[in-house]
Symmetry: C2
Subunit: 449 residues, 2 copies
């Protein structure tokens, strides 16, 4: 059933593009799903892709454009005239159209908007452009099916048929009062089974979840997931129904957020993929490595400060990678749990309780690991005091690392900074430095060098 | 609009439970959304929660049960009689009912199934129990609206009303032939706008995406996301329509998968949350720390093998945390990109191309970092040959770490093992050992100690 994009197929398309054989291309591609067209476009050069966008029907290409990676789309749009862009926009839902316009250079934005003819849509799009990308206002579309509570079911079905023309998928029918204030919703099922003469006000469900235009995207995702919603209406400050957000936009949002957090934890600072250019990948990766390098150089300095131990206790220096690994791993574990907890809104209770719990957890893990280190020392015949110094200072390092890993994200979150930046290289690097210092400092006290 | 679970509210509920005041509790809670009931249940003791489940209507509690954490649900179910469990199941969709039954002990499973009365449903549930949890068969529900291509639109609307009674949300109407083979779909919109007398075979859309019962959950999620589907039909080996999967189940699946990958990368081996018990958190975290500990002890041994360098080049030992950090960070970056690429299905091209690209990337990053190390050495007046030894061996370590980070997940994936286990502690630990060995080995050659 599924279309498979083969290299033969791509080659065939490339040859037809080279021959400028529009008819054959249209014939070859018009049965494809827009998501497959998008995959194809990503495999072509920008010029080839632009040619396809120009010759294929906008109905197909407008949706494919939305599926493309931002950078691929940017290249294609820069090769299209304002009129051609406007043509694509005409086939899009208002939210997608607004997103595209927001991506254009400012001087072209106006030209494109001027080329759009449907005035109502233009007003809708301009309204959507006002909102921040990551808020409900930025995520919503203006397309929805809206009925007034004073109508009858029969009138509602008529009106719905008319409105449904513009709405790709009907999730819910929203009921408003005369002024347009959201009152409730109506399921298609209810509409099908209600008597034709009843008033909407008698059959609608007054309980309806909604968000306001300023609700954060993450909060919208949380609500829709928690309540298993497939669409949610959006109201403005006055409670007027202004749009709706559908689950497919939220699925993409959830996926993007998860990918971003994952990459952040792995020390990759911008949204890149395995197939991006070496240059893009370097830009995303090198800054974190440089951070790690500075951390490592900091450790060099710390150890230089303890170099009197080299003569009698060289073994301590052999243990530094172990200490760094423990500090890093414990810190990443603690921060990952907190970052996820913050995202899912289940970090509850007071800071003191959390502190007690983290220290308890670190004590259990640390004691188990210290016991293993003591055992190792015993087996290889290491000096007992050295083993004790290593075990005790490792235990302390683990406790401190857990506290840093727990509280740095919480503090960042309370200051309104994305706590996800505190995972990965950030936490491992700072824990490396703290950990190594603490290790040598405590060892010095215990061993007295 | 949103219900907020306050500690006062919880206290109130607890007091009413203590008094066994069922009426007041029903009154207090019957307006709540099932997702809020679930949140409340998670805050109560198992006995209190079980009491609520028993006295509230199954219509409300059955859905709340599905929202609970597995361990909370397990505790509550163990306190319910087979008959009480069966009562909850009666209100659930077949997919949820099958999931619950699968969670029960085997001896109770049968008792519960015997207490269910609707024979058709029992057959459906038993069928669903056959499938692996993470396949389309395990994810699908039997509830769907199905019409035959030979019917008229009017007959279809009648039949739909009847079937819709059992289906919470109607996404699509599936069209089958007489034998029940999936032929296509029909949107509610089409049905509303088509003439009553036309045959379904004249109005249905023959192009329909579907999956088979054995399709992996990840693949289902990929297809539904790619094609923006809100529901997808599931067919068996013979093409017979057997169920459908809705997007809300897939959203949970995507979220769970993302959380799992994230935790795996952070060295947390089972699904835990910040509020889980210290014991559960220890079980999830300690194994990875022990792995890291063994890695660290391995490094101790490697360095012992190079201890002749201590006299003349103690500085090398100060650099080991830096080398370990670089090896770890580069490895995690490479593996994270590959793991994500594999999940999103965009790791294309041959292994040789990927090898060339990764080496190129590592060369660029490594050269930049080595230059910084040389600069550092120059500034602090370090012996030039020592700086060169450190820079060159660090560059080699970075290249090797990138290769390990790239190819270990690819190899695991090709062998059918989840590549996500190769991120985090696994890759940092192995890269630490390889990196430190390579560092000292190359330094020894360059410096000749």
């Amino acid at each position: 059933m599924q279309f498979q994009l083969t290299s033969d197929f791509i080659k065939n398309v490339e040859q037809l593009v080279a021959k400028k054989d529009g008819n054959k291309l249209r014939e070859l591609l018009h049965e494809l799903h827009f998501a497959d067209i998008a995959e194809l476009l990503e495999e072509l050069s920008s010029d080839e892709a632009t040619y396809l966008i120009k010759i294929l029907e906008s109905e197909l290409t407008s949706e494919a454009l939305m599926e493309l990676d931002d950078d691929v789309r940017e290249k294609i749009l820069s090769r299209l005239s304002p009129k051609e862009i406007a043509q694509e926009l005409t086939e899009m839902d208002t939210d997608d159209a607004a997103d595209i316009i927001a991506e254009l250079d400012e001087d072209i934005q106006e030209e494109v908007i001027n080329k759009l003819d449907d005035e109502e849509r233009v007003a809708d799009i301009i309204e959507l452009l006002k909102y921040d990308e990551d808020t409900a206002g930025g995520l919503m579309a203006k397309e929805l099916v809206q009925v007034k509570e004073t109508w009858t079911v029969a009138g509602c079905v008529r009106e719905m048929r008319r409105q449904a023309e513009n709405v790709t998928r009907v999730h819910s029918i929203y009921v408003t009062d005369k002024e347009g204030k959201l009152k409730g919703r109506l399921s298609l099922k209810d509409l099908l089974t209600a008597s034709e003469k009843s008033k909407i006000s008698e059959v609608y469900i007054p309980k309806v979840d909604y968000v306001t235009v300023h609700t954060e995207g993450e909060e919208v995702a949380r609500i829709m997931q928690k309540y298993d919603l497939e669409a949610i209406p959006v109201v403005d400050e006055d409670g007027l129904l202004v749009g709706r957000i559908t689950i497919d936009d939220i699925v993409d949002f959830i996926k993007e957020e998860a990918d971003k957090d994952y990459q952040m934890a792995a020390g990759i600072s911008s949204d890149v993929e395995a197939d991006d250019s070496v240059w893009e990948l370097t830009r995303a990766r090198l800054p974190w490595l440089i951070l790690g390098l500075f951390g490592g150089l900091g450790s060099v300095y710390i150890m230089k400060g303890f170099d009197e131990a080299i003569a009698n206790y060289p073994i301590l220096f052999f243990f530094t990678p172990l200490i760094a690994a423990m500090a890093g791993n414990v810190g990443v574990q603690s921060s990952a749990i907190i970052v996820q907890g913050l995202a899912n809104d289940n970090v509850k209770g007071s800071l003191v309780n959390r502190l007690v719990k983290e220290v308890g957890l670190a004590l259990i893990n640390g004691t188990a690991l210290s016991a293993l280190v003591m055992l190792f020392g015993f087996i290889v015949g290491q000096d007992l005091l050295v083993s004790i110094a290593i075990a005790v200072s490792m235990l302390s390092v683990i406790i401190v690392a857990a506290l840093i890993g727990t509280f740095v994200p919480i503090i960042l979150d309370r200051r309104g900074i994305d706590p996800a930046i505190a995972t990965g290289p950030f936490i491992t690097t700072s824990n490396d430095i703290f950990g190594i210092f603490l290790f040598f400092y405590l060892s010095k006290i215990i061993l007295g060098f």
